[in-house]
Point group: C2
Chain length 128, copies 2
DNA sequence: AGTCTGTTCTATTATTAATAGAACAATGGA
DNA sequence: TCCATTGTTCTATTAATAATAGAACAGACT
């Protein structure tokens, strides 16, 4: 699993890490039940601090994408790939809204937006 | 123009303000050339600090949605409603990617995503 | 002349992000 | 049983960001 972190990005590295893991799940590279590296091993591997990885893990746990089992390890949540709950949908909608608004200003039609989404999906899934 | 600010949100209020203005442009409530309130008047109106409004304005200026004219005022950019440039598209794609990845984990099909986007577009445009 | 404009400056407060190191209790393999 | 590994918790420091505050400036407009 390739994880690229942009140190100069405005998006914090713990979030970049979390998003990379979500992409891993999205493309099926990480499957429910798979175990994730320990916070220490992952941190060493990525050249970041243990606490930063821990923060990413807890962020993902809150979103129910991973499961943290005390003293045992971290696993992709059995329910990580699931049918979106209503709170899932609300969250998606909230995150999506400002981007859609911007797209409208940029004269993107529904079709343009759909094309953009399609491109992203391909881009996420092709890297296998 | 209704602007609602959630003081307890994780998204900073200067950003919420900027996004609200973008929505205003998206729904055609704000048109290129329209003048925006002065930083002081807007701040007083919204119950926030002058510098916070100023920050939102500069954020929007960087995205080329408004134009700040020294000593005269702030206006919706003449090019605010435009055909997306390549840098516009890159930005959209970058912002969209983590959301699409999450949607894929949540088993949303292309069609589901398209429906979601359609709902948001309606929601943005109906409030007139 | 006087108000309004965005700008600039210094300042303070609170929060977040990231790092660091140490210690704890429980797990699990050798 | 021993011992390394697990996530957790604690204190700490540093840097950056967000939000507020107040004052002053120079130019625009009336």
């Amino acid at each position: 699993m390739f994880i690229e972190i942009e140190t100069n990005s405005v998006v914090p590295i713990y979030l970049q890490l979390a998003q990379a893991i979500i992409e891993g799940v999205a493309k099926g590279e990480l499957k429910p039940g798979d175990s994730m590296p320990s916070v220490r091993a992952f941190a060493a591997d990525l050249g970041m601090n243990m606490h930063t990885v821990n923060k990413a893990y807890h962020y993902l746990e809150e979103k129910e994408f991973i499961q943290i089992v005390q003293k045992k390890g971290v696993f992709i949540h059995e329910n990580g790939v699931r049918n979106a709950s209503s709170s899932d949908r609300e969250r998606l909608q909230k995150d999506l809204r400002p981007i859609v608004a911007e797209a409208l200003c940029l004269q993107l039609s529904k079709e343009d937006l759909e094309q953009l989404v399609r491109d992203i999906i391909l881009d996420i899934k092709e890297e296998r």
